[in-house]
Symmetry: C2
Subunit: 411 residues, 2 copies
C-alpha cells in the first residue's frame, strides 16, 4: 500500500515542484483537468495589463507595428516549436484546433492531388471527424472520408489515400500512437500524415521533424495554459513550406497583406496557415504562458507525468478495488499520454461529487471519469489526496445525491 | 470659413459628447482611425480582471458553465443584433471576418444548389476576394467567382448566380450601397445576398431583417471597439435558420457538442456558424464593449457621423485647396459611411507626419489618406484641430522628411 509519506518524499525530490508557485491556483483545489483547460500562469495578469493599457489604449492602431502584434502568431509559433520537435519557422499560432484540422487536411489533399481518400478512426475527438464531414460534404464526391477502427487502419491505407488524420494521444483513453511508425506506414503507401497534438503538446515530448510528419495542429488552452479558447497552432514540415495551399486563404495568409491587392498570392512560408486578423489579446496570453517552458526539460516532465499516472493507477488498485471502476488507459508507459481514465456507471455523479470536494476532473460520455496530470502544477501528494477523497465519496456513497446527478451543459 | 468657435458650439450641443469619457484615450491624440481599430472602452479593464482572476484562475474549467462562457458567442450576438436590425437569434459572434465570409458564401451556395457563380466587385476588401479565391480553387470547377465592376454588377446577376458578396460601406472610398435595392435586385434573379458590414456596424443604422438580407458578417474591432483581433460576427436571416449548412462544421456547430458523438448533426440555429472553441478572453472584451451601446440612438449617431465628415470635407475646402488633395468619398450623405478619404501622391508621408503630431488616420495603398469618425469619441473641435494640423504640415512641407517616408509593415 502506497503511503502519504512516500508521496510527500516524491514531492520533496521533484525538480519541477517549484513551478507550481508560478500558477494562480485556488486554495483547497486539486486540479486534475489541465488537459481540458490549463491553469493560469501568474505572469499573464501583468501581461494583459500591458496589452490593455499600453498597447491598445495608448498605442492604438500603431501597436500593430510598435507592439509587434502583426508578428505575434509567428513569435508564439516559435515558442511552441521546441515543445513539438520542430524548426521554429514551421509553426504558427492561429485560429482554433477545428479550423487547423480543416486547413491541414485540405492542404494535404491538395499536395497529394489525384488521391481522394482521407483516413481516420472512429472515436477520434469529435471535432476532427466533424471537420472531415464538412470537408467531404462540401467537396461533393471529390474527397471521401474513410473511418476505420484502429486495428484495421494500417491495412486501409492504399494508393487512393491522400492523407491520414489521427490524434496522437486519445482524448478519452490517453492511448498514444507510435508517431514515427504510423507516419512511416502512411508514407510507405504515398499518403501524407496529419497529427492532432491537442492532448500531447506540453505533456509528451514530440519530434515532428524527426518523424517526418507532414502536417500537425494542436491546442493552446490545455497543457500550454494559454487560457480559455486560446489560439491553436499549425505545423507544416519544412519540406512542404512554399508549396502549401489551403482553401481558407484570408488576407493574413497573403504574401503581402498590406499591399491590399485584389489577387491572392499565398505566403511562401508558415503564414499561409493564417486566415484573418489574429486575436491579439488571446495571442498575448498564450505567448506569455509559453514563457514558463523556457527551462523545462521535457524528459523530466514526461517522467513525472508517467510517475503521477502510475501513482494514480496504483492507488486506485490499493484503495478502490471493488467499487466498480474499470481502467481504460494503458498501463504501458510508452503507449499513454498524461491523463488517466476510468469507466464507472455512475461516472457523472462521481465527478460532480469530486468537484464539490475540490478535486476537479471531468466526465466524458457515456461513463468516463478523466483525470489529467499536469506536471508543472500537480504533485504526488495531490494524487494521493485525490484518490483518498474519491475513496471517501465511494465508501459513503455521497455521490448518490440529486445535486450530483442532474447534468449541466458542459463538463 | 468655418471657425473654431462654431465647432465648439457644436460640441456643446452634442448629445453624444458625454460618451467620450467612457473611453481610455491618450492625452493629446485625435484618433481618426476607429474604423481600423476602435478605441478602448474603460469598462473592459475591470471586465478582463474578472475573466482572469475569478473566471479562469478561480473558476477554472467550471466557468464554461458557471461564467456562461459556452453561451457567450450567443450573448454577444444578441447585443449586436439591434445595431444591425436583426432579431436576436439570428446573430452570433465567432471567428474572424474572413472566416465568416467563407462560411456565409459557402452556406449561400449550398442553399442555392444548382447555381455555380459567386459575384463580387474588384477593389472589395482584399480578404473578401481572397476567401472567394480559396473557395473557388478548392471547389475545382464546381463554383466560379465572377468579379464585375460596380456599374456592371446588376446586369451580371443571372440564373447561374448563387450569391452576391458585397461590402456595404467600401473600406477606402466609404461609398455605401443601397442595401435594400441591391438585395432586392439579387433576389429578383434568384440569387442570395451576402453583406460584409465591417465598415457599417456601429457607424450606420442597418436593417438587415427589413431588407430581407440572406447572410451578413462584420467586424468586432472597428466601430464596436472590441479590441485588436476581436471576434467577428455572422448573421443568418431567420427564414434560413434551420436549413443552413456550412463546410467548417466543428464541434461548436454541432447540435449537442457535449455528447461527443462521432456523427455530425448541425445545430438548427445560429450556432451552426460557429466552428471550434470560442476565444473567451477576446469574446468577453467585445461583450463588455457592446454595453456602451445600450442607450445610443443610432439615428443620432448617424447624424453626428455625417455632420463630422461634412465638417471635415468643408474644412478641407476652406483650408487645403491647392495642396494636391483629391476627395474620394461621396459628398451625398445617403451614399457614404463614417470615414472620409483623400488621395495625395505623398499620402504615406503625410499620414506619418500627422501621426507624429497626434492625429491618427491611416494610409491605404497606393495613395489614400483615410480618416474615420467615430461619433462616440470624436467631436467637432477634434475635426477642426486635425485639419488645422494637416494644414500646418502641408504649408511647412514638414512631411518631406526621411522619417516619414520609410514604410513600416502595417499602417
Amino acid at each position: 500500500m502506497i503511503t502519504l509519506e512516500e508521496c510527500r518524499k516524491c514531492d520533496q525530490s521533484d525538480s519541477l515542484a517549484s513551478k507550481k508557485a508560478l500558477f494562480n491556483l485556488p486554495e483547497g483545489v486539486i486540479y486534475l483537468d489541465g488537459n481540458s483547460l490549463g491553469a493560469q500562469p501568474k505572469s499573464v495578469v501583468p501581461r494583459m495589463q500591458t496589452v490593455l493599457s499600453q498597447e491598445w489604449a495608448t498605442g492604438l492602431v500603431k501597436s500593430w507595428n510598435d507592439a509587434n502584434w502583426v508578428t505575434l502568431p509567428l513569435t508564439v509559433g516559435q515558442k511552441i516549436a521546441p515543445l513539438i520537435g520542430a524548426v521554429p519557422e514551421s509553426v504558427i499560432a492561429t485560429d482554433s484546433t477545428s479550423l487547423n484540422v480543416f486547413k491541414c487536411v485540405a492542404a494535404a489533399c491538395a499536395l497529394n492531388k489525384g488521391r481522394r481518400k482521407i483516413l481516420s478512426e472512429p472515436g477520434n475527438f469529435p471535432t476532427d471527424l466533424y471537420m472531415l464531414d464538412g470537408l467531404e460534404a462540401f467537396m461533393q464526391g471529390d474527397l471521401e472520408v474513410v473511418i476505420k477502427p484502429r486495428e484495421e487502419l494500417l491495412d486501409a491505407i492504399d494508393e487512393e489515400t491522400a492523407c491520414v488524420l489521427l490524434t496522437h494521444v486519445h482524448y478519452i483513453s490517453a492511448e498514444m500512437w507510435d508517431m514515427k511508425a504510423m507516419t512511416a506506414a502512411a508514407h510507405e503507401k504515398g499518403a501524407l500524415m496529419v497529427w492532432d497534438l491537442s492532448h500531447s503538446t506540453g505533456a509528451v515530448p514530440l519530434s515532428l521533424d524527426d518523424c517526418e510528419v507532414d502536417f500537425a495542429l494542436g491546442c493552446g488552452y490545455k497543457y500550454l495554459n494559454g487560457g480559455p479558447g486560446a489560439p491553436a497552432f499549425a505545423y507544416i514540415n519544412k519540406r512542404h513550406l512554399g508549396s502549401v495551399k489551403q482553401p481558407l486563404s484570408g488576407w493574413f495568409s497573403h504574401k503581402r497583406p498590406f499591399d491590399f491587392v485584389d489577387d491572392f498570392e499565398g505566403a511562401p512560408d508558415i503564414r499561409v496557415m493564417q486566415v484573418g486578423t489574429p486575436v491579439v489579446s488571446a495571442m498575448a496570453l498564450l505567448d506569455e504562458a509559453l514563457s514558463l517552458w523556457e527551462d523545462v526539460d521535457l524528459k523530466t516532465l514526461r517522467e513525472k507525468s508517467l510517475d503521477l499516472t502510475d501513482l494514480f493507477s496504483r492507488l486506485m488498485d490499493d484503495q478502490l478495488t471493488g467499487y466498480g471502476f474499470t481502467a481504460v488507459t494503458p498501463r504501458n508507459r510508452s503507449t499513454r499520454g498524461s491523463h488517466i481514465t476510468y469507466r464507472h456507471p455512475d461516472g457523472y455523479a462521481i465527478i460532480q461529487a469530486l468537484i464539490d470536494r475540490g478535486v476537479i476532473g471531468d466526465f466524458r460520455a457515456p461513463d468516463h471519469l478523466r483525470f489529467g496530470v499536469t506536471p508543472l502544477y500537480v504533485g504526488y501528494e495531490d494524487i494521493y489526496q485525490a484518490v483518498m477523497i474519491l475513496k471517501d465519496i465511494m465508501s459513503t456513497q455521497s455521490y448518490k445525491q440529486d445535486k450530483y446527478t442532474v447534468k449541466n451543459a458542459v463538463t
